[in-house]
C-alpha cells in the first residue's frame, strides 16, 4: 500500500518511467512498449527519451541507441545529462584498450551520422578549457573519422600553432603542441585532407616547423635517468604530454614522409609514389632529384631545392655529428669514443697548389678521407658527412638560399646549433678553410668530456699548423701528449706517414681517427715529424732540429727510414753535427750504426759532436796535446757500444721523457715561424 501511495504522488512522467523500469529483465518488450507510449504522451520530455536510450543501451542495441541519441541531440541540445553521456562516449574513443562497455560506446559513436559525430565532438571540445586536451579530442575524432579532416583539419592546425605561440615555448621546438601538430595532425591533414586547399606559403611554414621539431628532437640530450620531482613537473609543464606521449618512433621516416607529402601537394618534380618506398630509397631518390634539379638551375624549383636540401642536410648532419660525439646525442651512435677528422699530414702546405677556394668545383677537387679501421660503420659516417657537405653547399650557393637557410635554422635549440657548429668545423677542415675552422673551434662550448677536449684540441692544432701558426700548433700537440698517461701501450699507426714515400701529388687528404690513445699518440708524433721535416728545408734549421727528428723517427721505426736517410744526407752535406743529448734519447741500433758509419772515411768523415760532454769543450781543454782527439774518438766508440748493449727503455716512455725534458728545445724549432 505504501507503494501505491508513493506511486500516486509521482508526476505522470516520473510514474511512466517508474512503470517502464518495473519490468523484469526477462521482459524487455513491456518496458519498451511503456516508453513508446510515454514518449507519445510527452514528446517534449527528455527524461522519457533518455530512459528509452538507456533501455536500448543496456540491451546493447547499437542502432536503436544511436537513433535515440541522435533524436535527443536534436531535440534536447541543452540537457547536461545528455552531454555527460556524450562525454563518456568520446572518452571511450580515446582509450587504447576497450572492454565490452567501451566497445559498445565506440560502436554507438560509429553508428551516428557524421554530422552528429561532428556536433558531438565540437560541442564537447568547446567545453574543454585545456587547448591541448581539446586538440587531442579533435585529433582522435579525425583519426577515427577521416571525413572530419576536411572540415576541422586546418582549424586544428591553427589552434595548435596559436597555442604554441601563446604558451611562449616556441623557442623550444620539442613541445607538446608542436609534437601533435607535426607528428599527428599534419600527416593526417595531408593524407586524408583530400582536396583541402592549403595555402602554399603555409605548407612551407609547416615544413619548416616539422624540420625544426625533428632536428631538435633527435639532437636533444638524452638523459633517461629519473629526474628529480621538481624537474619532472617542470618538464611536464613544458610539454603537457607524458614522456611516453612525446616519444617519436621514427623521426626521420616521419620527416621524409612529410616532405614528400608536402612536395606532392606543391606538385614538386619528383618520383611518383615515393611515399610508400623505404627510407633509404627515399633519401637516394631525393638526393638524385636534388642534384638533377640543381643542375638545371631553374628558379621555379628553388623552394623544392631549398627544402629538399634542408631535410637531407639535417638528416645527414645529425647522423654525422652524433657519430662524432657519442655521448651527447640520442641518435644511437655505435661509437663509445669520439671520432675526429684531422689533416692527413701530407706535405702540401708548402705546395702552391692548395685549393683554398670554398666554391665547390668538380668532384675530384674534394679531398679523400682515410678512416680508422677501428671505426664501426665508417662508410656510413663518411657518406653522411659528404651528403651533409653537398647539401650545405647547395644551401649556401646563392645569397637568397643562404638567407632562407639562415631563417630555417634560427629557431634551433642550443644543442642543435652546437651540432651544426661541429659539422661546420669539420667541413671547414675538409675544405682546407683553416682560418674559419679556428674561429669556429674557438666558439665551441666548453665540454666536460675529456675525450671531446682532446678531440677539439687535435683539430685546433691541425688548423693552426696548416694556418702556419706552427708554435701554437706544436704547443697544443705537446700538451696533448703530455696529458696522456704513461701506461698507454705503444702502437703502430694504421696510417702511412707521408715520410714513407712521397704521395704522388699534393691532393688534400684527411684522416678520420678514433679518439683513443693508440690512435692519437702515433698521429701526434707523425704530426711533430711532419712539422720538423718541413723545417729541415729552412735555412734556419739547427742540428737539434735534425736530432729531434731522428729521435721521433725511432718511435715507429723503421717506418720513417726514408726520412732518416734524408736527414743523414743533410748531415753529410753539412759535414758536422752537434747534439750532446744524443745518447740520452737515441737507442735504435740502426740509427746508432749509421752514426758510427758517418764518422768513418767511407761514411763521409762527418765531424760528430754527440757525446754528453761536448768534444769541442774537451778539445779546448786539451789544446796543447796533439792526438788528443784520438781519445775522444775512442770515448765515442765506447759510448756507442755501451748504448747498444744497454737495455732499451720502452719506446713510449723514452718519448714521453724526451718531449717533457726537451719541450722548450722542441718549441724553439718553431719560433719565428
Amino acid at each position: 500500500m505504501a507503494n501505491a501511495v508513493v506511486e500516486q504522488e509521482l508526476s505522470d512522467i516520473d510514474w511512466l518511467v517508474m512503470r517502464a523500469r518495473s519490468f523484469p529483465k526477462s521482459d524487455p518488450f513491456s518496458a519498451k512498449a511503456w516508453l513508446i507510449t510515454a514518449k507519445s504522451l510527452f514528446p517534449q520530455s527528455f527524461v522519457i527519451q533518455f530512459e528509452s536510450y538507456l533501455v536500448e543501451k543496456n540491451a546493447k542495441n547499437v542502432d536503436e541507441a544511436a537513433r535515440y541519441l541522435q533524436d535527443m541531440l536534436q531535440t534536447f541540445p541543452n540537457e547536461s545529462r545528455l552531454w555527460l553521456e556524450v562525454h563518456s562516449i568520446l572518452e571511450s574513443l580515446q582509450k587504447e584498450t576497450l572492454d565490452q562497455k567501451l566497445t559498445f560506446l565506440t560502436d554507438l559513436f560509429a553508428a551516428l551520422p557524421t554530422s552528429t559525430q561532428c556536433l558531438m565532438v565540437l560541442r564537447v571540445s568547446e567545453t574543454i578549457s585545456d587547448v591541448l586536451e581539446r586538440c587531442q579530442l579533435l585529433l582522435l575524432a579525425m583519426k577515427k573519422f577521416p571525413n572530419l579532416v576536411q572540415e576541422h583539419g586546418l582549424k586544428l592546425v591553427e589552434m595548435l600553432v596559436k597555442e604554441e605561440t601563446n604558451s611562449g615555448i616556441v623557442n623550444n621546438p620539442v613541445n607538446c603542441y608542436r609534437k601533435l601538430l607535426v607528428c599527428d595532425v599534419m600527416p593526417l591533414v595531408l593524407q586524408k585532407g583530400g582536396h583541402l586547399e592549403v595555402n602554399m606559403f603555409h605548407l612551407y611554414v609547416w615544413l619548416q616547423r616539422a624540420t625544426e621539431f625533428y632536428v631538435s628532437y633527435v639532437s636533444q640530450p638524452h638523459n633517461h635517468e629519473p629526474t628529480s620531482e621538481a624537474e619532472t613537473s617542470k618538464s611536464r609543464g613544458l610539454t603537457g604530454l607524458s614522456e611516453a606521449e612525446m616519444q617519436v618512433t621514427d623521426p626521420w621516416g616521419n620527416l621524409l614522409r612529410l616532405l614528400l607529402l608536402i612536395g606532392q601537394r606543391l606538385k614538386w618534380d619528383m618520383e611518383l609514389d615515393l611515399v610508400n618506398k623505404t627510407k633509404d630509397c627515399q633519401i637516394q631518390s631525393l638526393q638524385h632529384q636534388l642534384m638533377r634539379i640543381k643542375s638545371h638551375g631553374s628558379d621555379a624549383n628553388s623552394k623544392q631545392i631549398l627544402h629538399t636540401a634542408m631535410v637531407l642536410f639535417v638528416h645527414a648532419m645529425v647522423n654525422y655529428v652524433s657519430n662524432l660525439d657519442a655521448e651527447s646525442s640520442l641518435a644511437g651512435s655505435a661509437h663509445l669514443v669520439p671520432i675526429v677528422l684531422v689533416e692527413g699530414l701530407s706535405s702540401r702546405s708548402n705546395s702552391s697548389s692548395i685549393n683554398k677556394s670554398k666554391k665547390p668545383k668538380l668532384d675530384c677537387t674534394y679531398p679523400t678521407i682515410e678512416t680508422s679501421p677501428n671505426i664501426i660503420s665508417s662508410a656510413f659516417v663518411l657518406q653522411s658527412f659528404e651528403t651533409a657537405v653537398r647539401c650545405y653547399e647547395i644551401l649556401n650557393s646563392t645569397e637568397e638560399m643562404k638567407f632562407e637557410f639562415y631563417n630555417l635554422c634560427q629557431n634551433w635549440r642550443k644543442e642543435t646549433k652546437t651540432m651544426l657548429l661541429y659539422f661546420q668545423i669539420d667541413m671547414a677542415i675538409y675544405q682546407a678553410n683553416y682560418e674559419e675552422a679556428i674561429t669556429l673551434l674557438l666558439q665551441l662550448p666548453v665540454t666536460a668530456n675529456p675525450k671531446m677536449k682532446v678531440r677539439n684540441n687535435l683539430q685546433l692544432a691541425c688548423c693552426y699548423f696548416y694556418h702556419k701558426q706552427y708554435s701554437k700548433a706544436v704547443e697544443l700537440i705537446l700538451d696533448l701528449l703530455e696529458a696522456i698517461p704513461l701506461t698507454a701501450a705503444t702502437s703502430s699507426a694504421w696510417f702511412q706517414g707521408d715520410s714513407a714515400e712521397d704521395k704522388s701529388d699534393s691532393a688534400h687528404s684527411l684522416f678520420m681517427l678514433q679518439c683513443v690513445d693508440s690512435e692519437i699518440i702515433p698521429y701526434c708524433i707523425q704530426f711533430l715529424i711532419t712539422g720538423l721535416k718541413e723545417r729541415t728545408l729552412s735555412p734556419l734549421k739547427t742540428d737539434s732540429l735534425l736530432a729531434h727528428l731522428i729521435i721521433l723517427l725511432q718511435y715507429d721505426w723503421p717506418k720513417g727510414e726514408f726520412l732518416f736517410c734524408e736527414v743523414i744526407s743533410i748531415i753529410k752535406k753539412q759535414g758536422s753535427f752537434t747534439y750532446n743529448s744524443f745518447f740520452s734519447y737515441v737507442h735504435q741500433v740502426d740509427i746508432l750504426e749509421e752514426f758510427a758509419f758517418l764518422e768513418t772515411g767511407v761514411g763521409g768523415l762527418v765531424n760528430l759532436d754527440i757525446m754528453p760532454n761536448s768534444t769541442k769543450v774537451l778539445a779546448q781543454q786539451r789544446t796543447v796535446t796533439r792526438g788528443v782527439n784520438k781519445g775522444v774518438k775512442e770515448d765515442f766508440k765506447a759510448t756507442l757500444e755501451k748504448q747498444v748493449a744497454s737495455v732499451m727503455e720502452p719506446n713510449h716512455i723514452l718519448l714521453h721523457r724526451f718531449l717533457k725534458e726537451e719541450r722548450t728545445e722542441i718549441l724553439n724549432n718553431f719560433v719565428g715561424s
Binding site: L16, I36, T37, L41
Partner: protein, 385 residues
C-alpha cells in the same frame, strides 16, 4: 481455330489436356478475351467450361474425373508454373476464373495449391490468393475454411516451427498480412473456445516484430482493391484480452492447456504488443499508418474486454485486467498520436464511459483518454497535489 478447342481438349488425356487448357486460358485472357470465331455468344461459358473440366476437374457433364495423389501434385505444379509465366495483368484474372466462384468447394484444391506455392515460393499464386482473401470478407466461410486448414497444417499438425511459415512474410508479405487478419477473426481470443494455437501466436508475434510494415500490406493494396481489412484490430484484441483470458484459463482446473504453454503465450503477447506499437510508429513515419485501426475497432475491443472481465475478480485477475487496460490505453495513445485513426470524439467518449462504469480504474487509461478528449490541446500533466 479455337472453335473446336473443347473437342480437342476432350480428346486429350491428363496431363496434356490440362497443359493445353492452361496455355489456352492464359493466352486467351491475356488477349483481353477476343471473340472466338463462331462462338460469339457464349465465350465466357466456354472459358469457364475449360477451366472446370480440365483444371479443376469438376465435370458438369459426365462422370467426375478423379485424379490420384501424384496426378494432383502434377496438376498443382502446372498451375504454379502457369501463374509464374502468365503476364502480370492476367494473373489475377486467371486466378479469379479458377477460384472466384463462391462456395463451390474449390477451397480444398486452393489449400493444396497454397501449400505448394508456399514451399516452392511461388509468389504470384500467394499474391493472387492474398487479393482473393482481401476481396472476400475475412469472415466469409471460404476464407475461414482456408485459414483453418492452413493453420491446422502448419501450426497444429506440424510438430516443429515450420520454416515455410516462418519465412512467409518475406516471400509474400501481403499473403501473410491477410492470413493474420483472417486468423484473428477465426481465433478471437475471447475465451477458451476461441484460443489461437500457441504456435500460431508465436509465428505471428515474430512476423510483426521482425517486419514493422507487414500489418499495413493490405492497406497498401487499398488503392487498387477497394476492400481491405488490416490485422491490427484483431491483433490488438489478442494483446488486450489475452492476459485476462490466459489468467482465467490458468485458474480453471479443467483447462486443457498447460501452465508452461500459458507462460509462453503471454510472453508472445508481450512481444506482439510491442511489435504493434512499433509498427504503428514506424508506418506513421512513412505515412502508411492511417486506417490501420479505427476508433470503433478500439471501442469494440473495450467492449469485448468488458465481456471477458468478471466482477469480483481474484488478485491475479485484477492484475491481468490492469495489463489489458494498459495495453488498450497504449494502443489508443500511440495510434492516435500517429494519426492512425480519425479522431472520433463519440467513440472515445464511449470508451471513457465504459471504462468509468464497467471496468476497474486504470491510471494510464485515464491519462490517455483525458488526453484524447482534450483534442488539440496538449495533455496537462497532473502536478503532485
Amino acid at each position: 481455330m479455337s472453335a473446336d478447342i473443347l473437342s480437342r481438349l476432350y480428346r486429350l488425356n491428363f496431363p496434356d489436356c490440362t497443359k493445353e487448357a492452361l496455355a489456352f486460358l492464359t493466352s486467351f485472357i491475356s488477349q483481353d478475351c477476343p471473340k472466338i470465331p463462331g462462338l460469339n455468344a457464349n465465350t465466357e461459358q466456354i472459358i469457364v467450361e475449360i477451366c472446370q473440366e480440365f483444371v479443376l476437374f469438376k465435370s458438369a457433364r459426365g462422370p467426375q474425373k478423379k485424379l490420384n495423389a501424384v496426378q494432383e501434385l502434377h496438376l498443382l505444379d502446372m498451375i504454379c508454373t502457369c501463374f509464374s509465366e502468365a503476364p502480370e495483368k492476367s494473373k489475377y484474372r486467371i486466378f479469379n476464373l479458377m477460384f472466384g466462384a463462391r462456395g463451390d468447394g474449390t477451397v480444398n484444391l486452393l489449400t493444396k495449391l497454397l501449400s505448394l506455392a508456399m514451399s516452392v515460393k511461388c509468389i504470384p499464386v500467394l499474391f493472387c490468393a492474398a487479393i482473393w482473401m482481401q476481396e472476400r470478407d475475412s469472415l466469409s466461410p471460404d476464407v475461414k475454411g482456408l485459414t483453418q486448414r492452413l493453420v491446422s497444417d502448419y501450426c497444429i499438425l506440424y510438430p516443429e516451427q515450420s520454416t515455410v511459415f516462418t519465412t512467409l512474410p518475406s516471400v509474400s508479405p501481403l499473403f501473410a498480412c491477410n492470413l493474420v487478419t483472417a486468423a484473428t477473426s477465426l481465433y478471437s481470443f475471447a475465451g477458451a473456445d476461441s484460443l489461437p494455437p500457441l504456435t500460431l501466436v508465436q509465428h505471428v508475434s515474430e512476423w510483426v516484430y521482425k517486419d514493422n510494415t507487414m500489418c499495413c500490406e493490405s492497406l497498401r493494396q487499398a488503392a487498387i482493391h477497394s476492400a481491405y481489412t488490416t490485422p491490427v484490430p484483431g491483433l490488438t484484441g489478442w494483446c488486450v484480452r489475452g492476459p485476462l483470458v490466459c489468467c482465467q484459463l490458468r485458474e480453471k482446473s479443467d483447462s486443457h492447456i498447460g501452465q508452461a504453454q500459458i507462460d509462453l503465450m503471454l510472453s508472445c503477447l508481450d512481444k506482439l504488443h510491442l511489435a504493434l506499437l512499433q509498427s504503428l510508429t514506424f508506418t506513421a513515419s512513412v505515412n502508411l499508418s492511417p486506417g490501420l485501426i479505427s476508433a470503433s475497432d478500439l471501442a469494440h475491443i473495450a467492449q469485448t474486454l468488458q465481456v471477458v472481465f468478471r466482477p469480483n475478480p481474484s488478485k491475479l485477475e485484477s492484475l491481468a485486467c490492469n495489463t489489458a487496460l494498459e495495453r488498450l490505453a497504449q494502443i489508443l495513445q500511440v495510434a492516435s498520436c500517429t494519426r492512425t485513426y480519425i479522431a472520433d470524439r463519440g467513440k472515445i467518449k464511449e470508451i471513457e464511459t465504459l471504462a468509468k462504469l464497467k471496468l476497474p480504474y486504470n491510471r494510464l487509461l485515464t491519462m490517455v483518454l483525458s488526453n484524447q478528449l482534450q483534442s488539440g490541446r496538449p495533455y496537462q500533466s497532473n502536478t503532485v497535489n
